[in-house]
Amino acid sequence: MFAPPSDTALESEFDCLMARAGLTIPPARRAGYLAAFADLRSQIALLHTTRSAAVEPSNVFRLVSPESTR
């Protein structure tokens, strides 16, 4: 079950992710982006359901033989 982190933990996580991505966030924008991060984090949690390993991602692809493209 998704448990929202504390504000401090959320800020630390955000700062860490920004550093990992090589992004420098202007101080004036940080609060807005942080709020959006918290919102997105909740939305992502909706996708963390238990799925069978048989549920494959949509980008699994198939190759075709050269003959079939001629």
């Binding site: 990992r20 991505a21 807005g32 991060f37 997105l40 996708l47 949509s58």
Partner: protein
């Protein structure tokens, strides 16, 4: 000046009958742009000389018996993320202000081969995501129905240009609703065809697996004619589908008798933002279709929130992958809204993205299952009419008035079609979605709603 121009089909008839020339149509369109665009900001660039040259060529070809098809001699414009050889393609961004492609996008080439007349490049939300924004080299376009209101995005200039009568159709792109949203809020027909129906090559990507190219148009018939020119297999676009292109106009007037249409009511009925007028508009469309012989019934799809989450995670991840280097080095050159959205792509992990792709497969299967027992879906395009510029919902929030992203996630064809005007004088629309590569049925239902609702007799707002 009459705010409305003749339909594309009517212009075509007049051109072939010799009662009008492409040059006259083009001069009229340029005069409309001159008269209205100063207040509306639909265009980033008007290519008047190119347009006049295209028009002369179209007239010359037709006189010589060379008819290039349904868009021959018809003025049009391209959203400014479609590459145009020798003409700047800016993505409405400071970062690409001086970018001049060497080649046409495939769609631009199709229009050129089809004898259409390029009027210019149209405003967009920056990189098809960041708007409406006032911190860019060009202002955001305004809604012709009320200029204090936004058009929606990202194909904002396309919607403005058509709804103000500057032209009958324009191209858009749709990653989460960027064709259907502006079409809904500006009273237009806007179709996002099936993923793979129209080549994306030469169109600046926002999210490779969600991006769709398609038209916005004054009417469903205009949209069908335009899609005819845009569609087709492209071996060099890895998403392009090698499937036959049907005649999109052939079934437009067949009516809807016998069709089964499902309403995924849980998508919108209890949504936070939905207005009573939008609910009434959907009910009205359903009643009109019923009265015309369709069987309309509620259907169940997975929770809307899962579609929205999967779509947003995929979009933001792929967009950040595209913009990572510029975001690291030139973040302040993006509009604040754009950079705020791209930043969110940096917080999504690999497993989050894979979860979204796994959800996508399940969601696509679920929509296909419902469409195995009905011909199409009827749902909301938007939960509201167009908001005012000073009351735009938080651009970084997961809450959105748009209800369009499910069919970007699944790739099914979907269209916005207007059904009337709300009490505030702004257009109300509904959305039709259909089976993969069955745009003809989507267009047919859209045309029926347009006719039965009386929308086809609603004039454009006077300038």
């Amino acid at each position: 000046m009459n705010p409305d121009q003749p339909s594309i089909a009517e212009m075509g008839r007049q051109l072939r009958a010799g009662t009008v020339t492409s040059l006259a149509l083009t001069r009229d369109a340029l005069a409309r742009i001159e008269a209205r665009d100063g207040a509306l900001h639909a265009f980033i660039l008007v290519t008047a000389e190119r347009a006049l040259a295209d028009a002369r060529q179209a007239d010359s070809d037709l006189a010589a018996g060379h008819d290039h098809g349904p868009m021959h001699g018809i003025p049009f414009a391209l959203k400014d993320i479609y590459d145009t050889a020798g003409i700047a393609t800016t993505c409405h961004s400071k970062l690409r202000r001086h970018h001049v492609p060497e080649q046409d996008s495939v769609v631009a080439a199709h229009f050129a081969e089809g004898g259409a007349v390029l009027l210019g490049k149209l405003a967009t939300h920056e990189f098809a995501i960041g708007g409406p924004s006032f911190d860019l080299p060009w202002p955001p376009s305004r809604n012709p129905w009320n200029t204090e209101h936004i058009t929606g995005g990202s194909s904002s200039g396309s919607a403005t240009a058509i709804a103000s009568g500057m032209l009958r159709m324009a191209t858009g792109s749709d990653t989460g609703g960027s064709i259907r949203g502006p079409a809904a809020w500006c009273g237009l027909a806007g179709i996002k065809p099936t993923y793979g129906r129209v080549s994306r090559r030469g169109v600046f990507p926002l999210s490779w697996t969600l991006d769709h190219c398609g038209p916005l148009a004054r009417s469903v018939e205009d949209a069908a004619i335009t899609l005819q020119v845009m569609a087709g297999h492209d071996k060099q676009d890895p998403a392009s589908a090698d499937v036959p292109v049907p005649d999109f106009r052939a079934g437009l007037v067949r009516g809807v008798a016998g069709l089964r249409i499902g309403i995924p009511r849980a998508f919108f009925a209890a949504a936070k933002m939905v207005t009573p007028e939008v609910l009434a508009a959907i009910d009205r469309a359903a009643h009109l279709l019923c009265d015309a012989g369709a069987k309309v019934e509620d259907v169940a799809l997975p929770d809307y929130a899962i579609f929205a989450a999967a779509g947003r995670v995929i979009m933001l991840s792929e967009a950040f992958a595209i913009h990572r280097i510029d975001m690291q080095n030139r973040l302040l050159d993006y509009a604040e809204i754009t950079s705020g959205r791209f930043v969110l792509g940096a917080v999504i992990t690999g497993p989050d993205y894979v979860d979204a792709l796994r959800a996508r497969r399940e969601l696509t299967d679920a929509v296909n299952a419902v469409l195995s027992s009905c011909d199409a879906l009827l749902t909301a395009s938007s939960l509201t009419t167009a908001p005012r510029f000073d009351a735009v919902p938080d651009a970084l929030s997961s809450l959105s008035p748009m209800q369009t992203i499910p069919f970007n996630v699944t790739g099914h064809p979907a269209m916005s079609v207007p059904v009337g005007l709300a009490a505030d004088g702004l257009p109300l629309s509904v959305q039709i979605a259909g089976r993969p590569f069955d745009e003809p049925t989507v267009l047919r239902i859209g045309r029926a709603i347009e006719t039965l609702s009386g929308w086809e007799n609603v004039p454009l707002p006077a300038g």
